[in-house]
Symmetry: C2
């Protein structure tokens, strides 16, 4: 009997074990505070974040291809869940939890479906500047939203105005014990980002101990704060995690949510999209040093299964986390066995240790979120984009501001629209260059960049630097006619089509009408360097016959055909 | 004192007068039934269609540039108004009318704003197949929706299911007199499209009489039906237009609608978009034989003013009508004076003759709509698109079906999304060609189309036939890496960038990472024929320095540099 096993397990080598074990332990130390904290960001009970770290880790280990991808709750996803559910106006906490679980199930089902339909290219609807703007603004929202819990009151609001409102309203209700624990924890964690590695290095610590001290610090801070609460007798004087149901979650299909499924479809789609983009980027980043390529459709399937699994064990949507996955890889994870060890540790905590977490102060959890997320508020991409391409910089800035102002859910829609609109606007006003022959050869160049180029009297050679389609057909025709109206002595227009990669039906109709208009005015329209695919489309539309005899293989062939024969009478 | 006057008026020539007068009269004969009928399509009292034909004609004559454009109520616009207002659930007929007037005011204000912002390219978000599918489906919906009024009961529904429901529900309530007048009128008008011109030609009629008989036939049919109603004593036995308020409408800013303005903003935007695309196409069609070009921004301003005017005199949204404008041009309109004459005739009818219209049977009006709109149910573009470009054909079919099923308002959104998505999907999977040197020259061609091409051992020359951007950067990288993995002996990859018209920040980051990955694997990445604008962006991003010395002016220069020096030892 042959059992289906993932590749890494079938060919497992003993020497991989040490790395996998240490990485698995380390990621568990990181995942426990993250899971608890991100569940709170999503407005859910803290244990939901741990539930969402069980089946997904197992399913990715079985189905995923990335060796160190660590799937689980993530900050931006949690904020998206909070923003989506806030709009539904769900009455009870139970309804809210059910809706969050169904968001995981629906987005999982969508991802699976997209994977089966091989829609991996969906990740490409977000341009990098838009994604960077989205991530930076989301991170800033998360940091600001945690100011409330840091001071001992509830976080609400998923947009800047709502968060500021909330802070304004509750600022008077701050809890001294919460701040006295939270603020030092925040400062310690913040300092640890740069100071701790140097200190540990100076102390000549290395190996696993160094890793546990530097990477496990959030866990150590949480443990320390619980000891302090007990020692100072502050139990019950500040917001704490409280009693967590003991034991592992049951695996079951939950009851339908009060809001109905239809209201969750669109939010689930955007959560699926963001989670997929996030997880695919992590997988690709991890694949580079190992010289592997990532199959986007396979990632869709694996992530879809993970989210279905998260929902079935009562968790909320999950994705591959960048920080966790890098920690996993750096700590020596060789295979997905590391993730299975992480899962086993979290299961053990839930089964036997959940009582330990009850006294955990929420303000210290808030401090771990703020310290983890703050480095993602990066504005450097804005500067980089500004130097390369203004419109990309504008896309970043607009997405950033819209996410802050409207919240992550509207922001992501705006981001997709801005990405596409910016690109289409650029293609709607194509660059056109007048060409001339470089002396002593058969090459043609832009006469404005190479003034030494020769031209033929009465012949205008124009290169259109864009595919022709409905978005620019009208503009190209108007620009050509305006150009010809300005240069009245032209009798032949030679269009160089080397940069026209595709034409659509709208552009074909434009070319035909342009030819008719020019013929009426006594101007010949000729084409050069028409690409194979473009010519095929012209053949299909019956336009090719019309141009027979007027299409040149190269611009130089056109030049030679259009050069007047030498007059032998002189 | 110099008064501002439009060009055509300042340079008016006496010989233009005869054509302008006959065209103005003829268009009035066409516009009266159309105005009444399209108001009914929009669910409004019939006189609203005449009100919408007053100020807009004057304003276009003053501000517009097209000599024969005839602005007024149009079929598709009316259907859009009906579909948009149906969703608002407005209680009274007065609220419904107010909302329709505000749709005209809002879409007028938007068009003016777009014109001031020079957003004329907005017309280009709809590809021709999508627009054709939209128009054909809308026309079919209008024809079907008029089956009810033809049989003497009310038309409701703006989508196929709603219209079929309505017919099913009321089929028993048909009115015999309505059908007895409507059906013969429909058959007569339908026959007149092909039979009448031949007949009149055989009778050797020509000039104005022929034009009035053929173009004024709808008006004659309406007049005849009113005489029949009086003669047969059917007054009150079938649905009729009823009493129309006597006199011209007052010019005033109406009260705010019951729905609030916010609910009207999105419908007004789509109405503005469709009206603008429609009116711009008409203007461009009219400009071709006169060798004029159309300024899209100017058309935006003029159409915006027309719609504000329509709203201020109690009308609904208007646009340039294709049939009317062609009739206007063919009947000899030389200037916009023709439209002023049309307006004067409609004003006269409203002022002194509105009582004449009261007995007009609605079933005959329905017949004029069906006869006018049915020719627009054209499916030929589907066949043409199928032959040229399958995805354009699919875009047509999907838009057609969605408009039928969901109605015009959702259909237009779907149309825009389909237009853009189809184009982006094509650009997300760029064509790449391996190039070789054509023997005896310096030109390179696709080795698959030209098998005689030579290649260099260890050198892979690839031409990327698409601009590089976020939508395809990932795919291009994966495709290149897969290609290189398959051909293991390659030491140099030469990318020919002649067809790469633009790169964005996402693609720049991809190029940089690709270069790093290839360097690790011992493969050199070189570029050839990088375009000026692309190189500028690479310079701005600091990527140009990285590639210094590895960019060739032409593919042939790269070929020469990569050809191994001859080994003199042998």
């Amino acid at each position: 009997m042959t059992v289906w096993l993932p590749d890494w397990l079938r060919h497992y080598r003993q020497e991989w074990l040490a790395g996998d074990v240490s990485a698995g332990v380390l990621v568990a130390l990181l995942l426990v505070p993250q899971g608890l904290a991100y569940a709170l960001v999503a407005g859910l009970p803290p244990q939901v974040g741990l539930y969402a770290s069980l089946l997904p880790l197992l399913l990715y280990a079985l189905l995923g291809r990335s060796h160190a991808q660590s799937v689980g709750p993530m900050a931006v996803t949690s904020l998206l869940v909070a923003a989506s559910l806030a709009k539904l106006g769900l009455g009870s906490a139970g309804d809210y939890l059910l809706a969050a679980i169904w968001l995981a199930l629906l987005s999982g089902a969508m991802l699976l479906l997209f994977g089966l339909l091989r829609l991996g290219f969906l990740a490409d609807v977000l341009s990098e500047p838009v994604l960077a703007g989205f991530t930076a603004a989301s991170a800033l929202l998360i940091v600001l939203s945690q100011l409330g819990p840091l001071a001992g009151f509830r976080a609400t609001g998923a947009s800047l105005p709502a968060i500021v409102d909330n802070l304004w309203l509750h600022a008077g209700n701050y809890s001294q014990p919460a701040l006295l624990l939270g603020l030092p924890a925040l400062l310690l964690l913040w300092w640890a980002r740069s100071g701790l590695p140097r200190l540990l290095h100076a102390w000549r610590l290395h190996g696993l101990l160094l890793a546990i001290l530097s990477r496990g610090l959030p866990m150590l801070v949480l443990a320390g704060s619980m000891l302090l609460v007990a020692w100072l007798g502050w139990q019950g004087q500040l917001p704490q995690v409280g009693r967590i149901p003991a034991g592992l979650p049951a695996i079951s299909l939950p009851a339908l949510p009060a809001s109905g499924l239809a209201a969750l479809v669109l939010p689930a789609f955007f959560i699926a999209l963001i989670n997929y983009v996030q997880s695919l980027s992590v997988a690709q980043l991890l694949a580079i040093p190992r010289r592997e390529t990532v199959d986007p459709d396979r990632e869709l399937l694996a992530l879809g299964a993970c989210n279905l699994g998260a929902g079935l064990c009562g968790g909320f949507p999950v994705t591959g986390g960048l920080t966790r996955s890098i920690v996993n890889a750096e700590a020596g994870a060789n295979t997905q066995l590391a993730s299975l060890i992480t899962m086993a540790m979290i299961a053990a905590l839930l089964a036997w240790g959940s009582g330990l977490l009850a006294s955990l102060p929420l303000s210290v959890l808030a401090a771990t979120i703020m310290a983890a997320v703050a480095p993602q508020v990066r504005l450097q991409p804005l500067l980089q984009a500004w130097r390369a391409d203004r419109s990309d910089a504008i896309a970043f800035a607009v997405t950033f501001l819209l996410v802050l102002w409207l919240g992550v859910d509207s922001g992501i829609i705006a981001g997709v629209v801005i990405s596409l609109a910016a690109w289409l606007m650029k293609s709607s006003r194509p660059h056109m260059a007048e060409l001339g022959l470089l002396p002593g050869g058969s090459h043609f160049r832009n006469v404005q960049r190479y003034p030494q180029c020769q031209t033929l009297p009465g012949v205008l050679i124009l290169r259109i630097d864009e595919s022709l389609y409905f978005g620019n057909a009208r503009h190209v025709r108007d620009a050509l006619l305006a150009r010809l109206a300005a240069e009245r002595q032209v009798h032949t227009l030679l269009l160089v089509m080397s940069a026209v990669n595709r034409v659509d039906v709208t552009a074909l109709a434009m070319l035909q009408r342009l030819d008719e208009t020019l013929a009426e005015r006594g101007i010949r329209l000729q084409l050069a360097e028409v690409k194979g695919p473009v010519w095929d489309v012209m053949l299909g539309a019956g336009l090719a016959e019309r141009f027979t005899g007027r299409v040149h293989l190269s611009t130089y062939a056109g030049w030679q055909a259009l050069t007047p024969a030498p007059d032998f009478h002189i």
